[in-house]
Subunit: 433 residues, 4 copies
Amino acid sequence: MRNQRQPAAAAWAPDSLLERFRRTRNLSRDLAKGLNEADMTVQSMPDASPVKWHLAHTTWFFETFLLRDHVPGYRLFDERWPFLFNSYYEAEGERLSRPDRGLLTRPTVAEVLAYRDHVDEAMVDALPLLMERHGELVELGVQHEQQHQELLLTDLKHLFSRNPLGPAYAPVHATITHAQPARDLPLRWIAGAEGLAAIGSDGQGFAFDNELPRHPSWLTPHALANRPVTNAEWIEFIADGGYAGAALWLSDGWDWVRREGVGAPLYWRGGPASGWEQFTLSGWQKVDPLAPVTHVSFYEADAFASWAGARLPTEQEWEAAAQGRDPLGGNQLDHAAPVAPRAEDGGGVDDGGFASLFGNVWEWTGSAYRPWPGYRTAAGAVGEYNGKFMSGQFVLRGGSCATPRGHARASYRNFFHPHQRWQFTGVRLARTL
Amino acid sequence: MRNQRQPAAAAWAPDSLLERFRRTRNLSRDLAKGLNEADMTVQSMPDASPVKWHLAHTTWFFETFLLRDHVPGYRLFDERWPFLFNSYYEAEGERLSRPDRGLLTRPTVAEVLAYRDHVDEAMVDALPLLMERHGELVELGVQHEQQHQELLLTDLKHLFSRNPLGPAYAPVHATITHAQPARDLPLRWIAGAEGLAAIGSDGQGFAFDNELPRHPSWLTPHALANRPVTNAEWIEFIADGGYAGAALWLSDGWDWVRREGVGAPLYWRGGPASGWEQFTLSGWQKVDPLAPVTHVSFYEADAFASWAGARLPTEQEWEAAAQGRDPLGGNQLDHAAPVAPRAEDGGGVDDGGFASLFGNVWEWTGSAYRPWPGYRTAAGAVGEYNGKFMSGQFVLRGGSCATPRGHARASYRNFFHPHQRWQFTGVRLARTL
Amino acid sequence: MRNQRQPAAAAWAPDSLLERFRRTRNLSRDLAKGLNEADMTVQSMPDASPVKWHLAHTTWFFETFLLRDHVPGYRLFDERWPFLFNSYYEAEGERLSRPDRGLLTRPTVAEVLAYRDHVDEAMVDALPLLMERHGELVELGVQHEQQHQELLLTDLKHLFSRNPLGPAYAPVHATITHAQPARDLPLRWIAGAEGLAAIGSDGQGFAFDNELPRHPSWLTPHALANRPVTNAEWIEFIADGGYAGAALWLSDGWDWVRREGVGAPLYWRGGPASGWEQFTLSGWQKVDPLAPVTHVSFYEADAFASWAGARLPTEQEWEAAAQGRDPLGGNQLDHAAPVAPRAEDGGGVDDGGFASLFGNVWEWTGSAYRPWPGYRTAAGAVGEYNGKFMSGQFVLRGGSCATPRGHARASYRNFFHPHQRWQFTGVRLARTL
Amino acid sequence: MRNQRQPAAAAWAPDSLLERFRRTRNLSRDLAKGLNEADMTVQSMPDASPVKWHLAHTTWFFETFLLRDHVPGYRLFDERWPFLFNSYYEAEGERLSRPDRGLLTRPTVAEVLAYRDHVDEAMVDALPLLMERHGELVELGVQHEQQHQELLLTDLKHLFSRNPLGPAYAPVHATITHAQPARDLPLRWIAGAEGLAAIGSDGQGFAFDNELPRHPSWLTPHALANRPVTNAEWIEFIADGGYAGAALWLSDGWDWVRREGVGAPLYWRGGPASGWEQFTLSGWQKVDPLAPVTHVSFYEADAFASWAGARLPTEQEWEAAAQGRDPLGGNQLDHAAPVAPRAEDGGGVDDGGFASLFGNVWEWTGSAYRPWPGYRTAAGAVGEYNGKFMSGQFVLRGGSCATPRGHARASYRNFFHPHQRWQFTGVRLARTL
């Protein structure tokens, strides 16, 4: 969490926040519909968490940092549950080891849903009071839950991918099986601003502490691709021996390729002869050549860029390009559905010529995740939200098909380790001019 | 599985076997009652399997080795499931990796129960036919399912033990909370037979291939304890520094103690000051000083014996003592219940003076699990049942509170690795005279 | 290695380069004097290499990239040795696995020294020719060997530190046991330049490819400490619970602290009661409170800075401060000796008020090691020198007591993983103004 | 070490023991001749120890259990060295971690040889005194050093095998490159004794505690092969898919094969097309088809026996066959040389028809290493010699080409883990009749 120093109290109009609180809380429940008790309990790898755990943890966040801390007389739903549902807040004391989250067959889903009801009622009752002095914490709780909605979907996708039966979260969604574009959106290079740019949150609306403070940064001449790299391009990369030799790879990346036996994006199977398939929230599907590649690691993104004679954008370059563009557009999460990246149909190109700066796939940048100049963490447990993760990770920008619409923005910094790829991660190329 | 060379066709009277088939199949379902979908799906460690998997695997065994192999026209319930539910039969082809059994949130419990119904119906239809030529395989399927009933309970116990909420499989069972005996059964040494003994199955009734052939073995003068080591004695061992120094331990055992930080039996918590508690199928309970110690490893059993100035019995000594005694007596599994070892009340002492040779706790012997002289594995996949595990393990004898009554016998050889202790394992001391 | 695009041919005056070639090659031999065959062969951890391997690998570098590639008719000293002494150049083919470098009891030291003689003679013969067209590669070979001289000393120090007898490379050096300064140099904050700065090599003299190209960077208002953090300050940090709680640490750092049981800099033993000692190239010595702390990881440096209410400098801030200052000053490596950081005696303070910007200890920056805007790797195997390591590491600046004098400069970028600390690494604090 | 209860004082005639002490101590030094300081210091895997360490550890054994414990006024050569050279005696206190033995570049070989001189002189002086009351400990020290002589050679062989240059300990030895036998000794089955056999040391001469007490054991009808399995036979096994499927293997063995990628004995390279070579103490050599196969694990030995329709002998069967035969015959270690198993030339066949029961290769038995009935460990630290290793290992019998002649005997029990194969281990088949 972070130091939301900018949001004026006025920003937290109780009505609209209440509405967003409700919508967000409801969406989480909706996302879990159609899953059985086991689907929601099993953990398929230490990086992932069970659906039930996400439902409970997001609730714990409101219970702890709002109700317990700021609502006199509130009593915990269950004294033993904070141990179970604290994620990583050291200041909140001991907690269940992360790889053990999947052992919690109890409490049941029904009990967790009762927990959600209990906390939601208390929150709604207290919201007028909380708005006055802790609006930014309520907002943070909503934003936090949105982040977990994306994780809920990607963690579930990983779980289902490990099942030899390849179950589907839901059949292919109507809005996804739209008519394919007749042809690919051709790659074009769009020159970026040069010289001083103001980077970081502009103070309009919510921002995490890691987006602050706004500060000057000098951009050298460069251009960004108008759209993300497509599956068709990635198949070319594979066919050209992209994974077959060290030359294109970072040293750590090549070690990873060999250690893990990587030869294609995560969730791909098949090959040039039989054709490529990928596991989706609708089960195994043909790889759509015109859709952006996804589930690639930073290492893969970097190697691909080298192969293409390009590089990854810095996060400053990306942010400067995104400033002033509509973060609400594109393929983002609106309601429970088997989301997937969509082929660019040209209709989504903005007035700067960019397709899918927001939504579709997160875009790896070449920037290591480090603090902005002048960055300060918030006091207390919420100070652990972002700052302590600022080593060993790389920044991604722009949101994906699984990001709740309204959550992403130009200054938004997502971050993962360079080998991780179970998120909807993709690549937009850049060039030094 | 093994070479059941002894059972005459007559032994497999269709009626009684049908009855036992039905009883066994029903007991498995009963054991799973009261569990939710997640309880039955999660895997808490690679050594353990989910309840649902046990229900399906035992069914796969009948489907594969009886219906598929010997019933013309039988069609598999689902072509994809043998991959999921084969345990370790290499001859049956590729299979799900063991640590991945807990990823199967699908098929659901309902689907697995439908599988059981399907196979049970086909089995009952075919039983008259199967009895004629494959009675020993039907019997094997029943015995196999009994083994998995014990594992189902111990695996579930392990899962619940890892949950900080400590859920109970069921409240303490009426037949367990019987009046405690007024006092401990005092330790007595009972001299064993000396000289030539006939070891191995006597050919009366079913036996696994590892109990064959019956063969002579020479016993040197020795005595066995009249009863298993109690919790009270184990608490003394701890208090006397049993886990605190290398002197009593096998070298591998001491490495294990230090690496795992072992200081008490599995599932114990507390200590001398606060008192000891143990996790049971009825949740956390006070350690009963008069009950036999359980959930100890071979290493612990061996170290305790050294501390007590004794040793573990060889399996031949144990078997010679058990020959002619009733294997149906004692604390064994009759129906779904939160089974636990019971304090000896003297009532269970047999005419040789032994308490609980059968039932209560498995007794570690000092014998490495190796073939009897002249041992031969059966042909085909069932030949993988026992023989291939004959390295690195130690033999246990006598059955436990979780062993289905009727499953154990004097010649029965159970086996686990020396560090494993999630079964109901205990210790009976022996002495060289 | 890297794209030395700047060095004009004129820069490589054969005479002076020959002289530096000879001096450098001789220093390596000198560093190994007094060591026995085993001291020079054993590898104490995968990160470290044996002394003998350093002597051979630096020779292989000249043999491969100069003699083999550019001297017609040159024959390899031994066809089998490139496999042994290639470090990480994938383009040069298969090579000995890094952790196996310590298995090479053959070739012997004498054979490796003969290899050095052989290559040195061929180099000296060919130098006039090589100067004309490949001067930058000769220079690179010299710079490369200087890097390995530092590693040779730190790797040897690690080896000796693992020996319970704590052997000394040499007794405390006369130039080190100089009279201690009467008192610590007090901490002072020196404001840095603000606004646009030119970062990267200025093209005067040699630079590695990772120092290129020179480019503008915007500095926000900040100040740097006048001197590195001292041992006395670090002892305070420890006493104040610096290692005892998560609050000051990056998440990865805190994991590292707990996993490795870290509670003090590497090579320290003792404690507040008995006093602190540290292992040095002269064996175990009392910790000098006035000397800069060394052998700390990036994680420790970052936590210390948080504790001190400061932060680490960015590498741009550091470089801007160092520009125009003399990189030849301070405590750096001149000849074979048991080098160690020295207490600041005030005499070394430059006209900007800085002590030990160059020499004494490498200074961790807060900058992840990533390419400068417009960075390009060199073609061929030498292109693997720097670029492929640009993930997962942090930048250090300024050189240390073990850096050959003349090797460091303002734009020089050293890099290590954030947990590594067997180099002479230290901390200079920074502050945002 | 162990409880040598049988050796009468008379057995330790000072003269002959003095002579054997001297011969044994000299042989160790001889074995190390021709090696350089690094060859003697490096450790190639945790299972192996450096030559220098063997030289020092065997000396520590005499210093500790004889000089320190029983010679008034003896002063340790160096107070710090027991920490370095204690192997695994917990009762002797803390010691260097086993995988760290290779870090000891100091003390030097010269210092260790001085240690040997110092202890040898003190031993020779004290021998008359020690003979009177502790002759069995002197004898134990000699036997102990003989065991380490074998390990010294096999550990060194492993080290050299890991060097891509494949150095030789010495050129092929004259006594090895004898004229090859014209043809293989044909396999013959020799029926063993049936019924009661007396197993264990007969009390004539020295025995380790694990050979005691002599006890009756019942042998069922069986036969042993007249000679060990040859390389030619092993090549057939490979060609027939011996390593290609699970069917022949113990479950743990098959896991090991897949995990380690095993496809031939240790130290073999090549294949059916190019021919097989093996690494020897004389470097890489052609595999001699008529020589016994060596460097195979228990798992391989067991799988081969299954393939051959046979089994491994029990140790009792082996011992019964060996009783009364000359343990001093065959290919055993007499002096420093590049020992290797030799093809059977028929000349070595004893009057029972057996070739190489003693010497050439250790023969894996099918017996897990467990105590004889009535086994008791000795008091004190030497009680840790054997007993604490009695889990997880298998027994080998008969000695090898690297066993000092005079060390092996019919009742001698060697033991290793089932996956280990860097000793000169081989296979003699057995059959149940």
